[in-house]
Structure formats: C-alpha cells, structure tokens
Symmetry: C3
Subunit: 139 residues, 3 copies
C-alpha cells in the first residue's frame, strides 16, 4: 500500500454548487490506484463539500434555496455580524454539509454512483479561492 496527496484550488463567484468531479478524477488518474480510498478535505468554515445529484441543475438550485431558508440572512438572528450578513449563515450552512468526504476506489475507478457528483459549496456572496486537500491511499 502507498499514499499520495494533491491540492485543488476552486475559484468561486458567489453562493452555489461548483462541480469538481472532473478535476478530482484528473488528479487521481496519474496515481494509478486499483483499490483504495480517496479523502477530500476543504480548509474553510464558510464553504463545504457535498456529494449530490449531477443530472438536473434544479436540484442544486433547490438545495441552495433550502440552505437559505433554514439559515437565513437575517441579522437579528445572529451575534456574529461584523463580517457581513452572509457570514454567519455561511458557517451554519457549512456545518450542515461536509468538511470532508471519503470515496472508495474500486477497479481503478472512483466508486461514485451514476448520478453522484462532488461539489464545493460556496456559502459566501463574494468570490473566494477555496483550497481542497486530497489524500489517497491504496494499491
């Protein structure tokens, strides 16, 4: 067994879902693992990771709307308001989703289902550069 690691910087331009599946697959392919485990980790607390449907763009818009509904940008709800009205809702929406993901590698391929894609979810309104760490182990 061996391991490797990579980095991916994702440039975001406002709230929403950024599909990084192709970037992840590209970075993995050079490693040539047959069997193993990929772990992704995002180094932020107002952006997050999520595996969700890749078929209908409406699903992602509905998820964005849900997160806005459950953690609204309403200043009266929060103490932490110095960094903008969208900052505390961003932390909550990140807390409800994932800081890390792990996906098995089977027969040389990432074990995602047919309809699964890997997303960076940006929860802030302003553009950001979001850093995702990769850890891979296997044979």
């Amino acid at each position: 067994m061996r391991q490797s690691h990579h980095k991916l910087t994702v440039a975001t331009s406002g709230q929403g879902f950024y599909d990084i599946t192709a970037d992840v697959v590209a970075r993995l392919s050079a490693d040539r693992y047959r069997t193993g485990l990929l772990t992704l980790f995002i180094r932020h607390t107002s952006a997050s990771l999520l595996i969700q449907e890749n078929a209908d763009r409406d699903v992602l818009d509905d998820l964005t709307a849900f997160l806005a509904r459950v953690a609204p940008e309403r200043q009266s709800l929060y103490r932490h308001v110095a960094e903008g009205n969208d900052d505390m809702p961003a932390h909550i929406r990140a807390a409800l989703t994932q800081t890390h993901l792990a996906i098995p590698i089977v027969d040389g391929r990432l074990g995602l289902g047919t309809w699964q894609a890997i997303y960076v979810v940006e929860h802030r309104r302003a553009p950001h550069a979001r850093l995702v760490l990769f850890h891979v182990l296997g044979d």
Copy 2:
C-alpha cells in the same frame, strides 16, 4: 497493512431507517483485522447513511419526523418536481445526513459505542435497492 472491499445491497420499502450493523459486522469478520479503519459509502443521492441510537425505536421515528418537517413534501417549495413530490425532499434529507461513514477497528472489533447502530436512511417512498460500498484497511 492491507485493504479489502465489499458491497452490500439494502432493499428498502419506503422512508425510514434500516439497521445494517449486523451485515457490516458479518462482512468484516472474515477479514480478521485487529486494528484498522472501515469506510462505508452509499452510491445514491436520495438515500444516506447515519449512525444513531439503537435502543429506542421512537428515536428513529422522531428523526424521520424531523426530516419531514425540515424538508417537507410541499411542491411549491421546489423546482425539481418531475420525479415526484418526495424526490427533492429526499435529496435535501440526504444532504443533511451522510454519504459516507468511517469507523475505527480496535482490538478486532468495530469501535461503535454501546448505543450506536449504522443505518441506511431511505428518503424515497417507493422501494429501492441501495448499494453500499465498503473499504477496509488495517492489520
């Protein structure tokens, strides 16, 4: 160190929690790891994984009711309605829970707490076959 992988198909019959702990333990036992890490990954976006209490069935019913409350089947809330009123709520409920879980193996046993069980959570009303991938590594 070595690794192994397995699959488990779970036949669901409507929304709710399906305890797969015994199936997971059974698949692990043949591998005879003393120390290691188990990762489970579900290849779906409208069913998910969760570790929760195994003692009182009411806890699971209350969790199901909570998920129905936070992401209700109300068509006016969603754009993605073509696949049924329960489809978009299913994606949201899956997003709020887990696509993967990892559990350490200690002294030859899965490191679950006394009251912890591993569940596949079905978020759709119709029966489905849900595929869970296992990755195990250790000594």
Copy 3:
C-alpha cells in the same frame, strides 16, 4: 505505511462547543507522521464532532442557537421523551453534525485551515464524559 490509535475523553458541562484541537495535535505529535490521514470518531449519539471557526466565540454561540432553533426542546414534537426534554433534540442535533471527521496530515502537520478548530459538540444539558477514538495512518 503504518497506523496507530488513541483515545480522548472529553468532560463536558452542558450544551456547547469544546475545542479539542490542542489535545488532538498533542496525541498526534508523538506518532511523527509526515504524510497521512487522521480519523476521529465519537462513540455517542447525543454528542458529535464538528470543524468550525476558532476566531470569534460568537460563531459558536450562534451555531448553538441555530441548533436549538432547528430542533427545539418542545416535548409535543417528539415521542422519545423518557430521557428528558433535551434528549431527542440532542439526537437530531448530533444527526445534523458529524460522528466522524477525517483530516489529512501534510508535511508533518494536521491540514487544518487557519480558522479551523476541531470541536466536540455536547447536545445534552447534564455533564458527560465523551469518548473520541483516533485512527491514524501514514508514513
């Protein structure tokens, strides 16, 4: 590649966030991994793990308030009430956050972002001893 494991018991005194980052780093340092993966697992269903901001204490208070809002201590909402009004909300709040976390080790250091800390989140009102398992692998 090699692996190691550790335990950490966290004494909690009511609902809120307990920063365990320094304890995690201390336990890891003796292992002297250059590259690897740390997995943390909490053996409870009414306390959980979360990576969130470490800079402004208000963020943690706002997260606590959010969890109280989304899963309130209102007996009429739940069947599972025998263990106290705070028990079922605790299970829901644990389900919305994490039972396990994984963090890559890069260049001999835990790959956390500048503003990220690792928290045990206690969801019960009474003091508890919460057990966190560590699994580490790498070189």
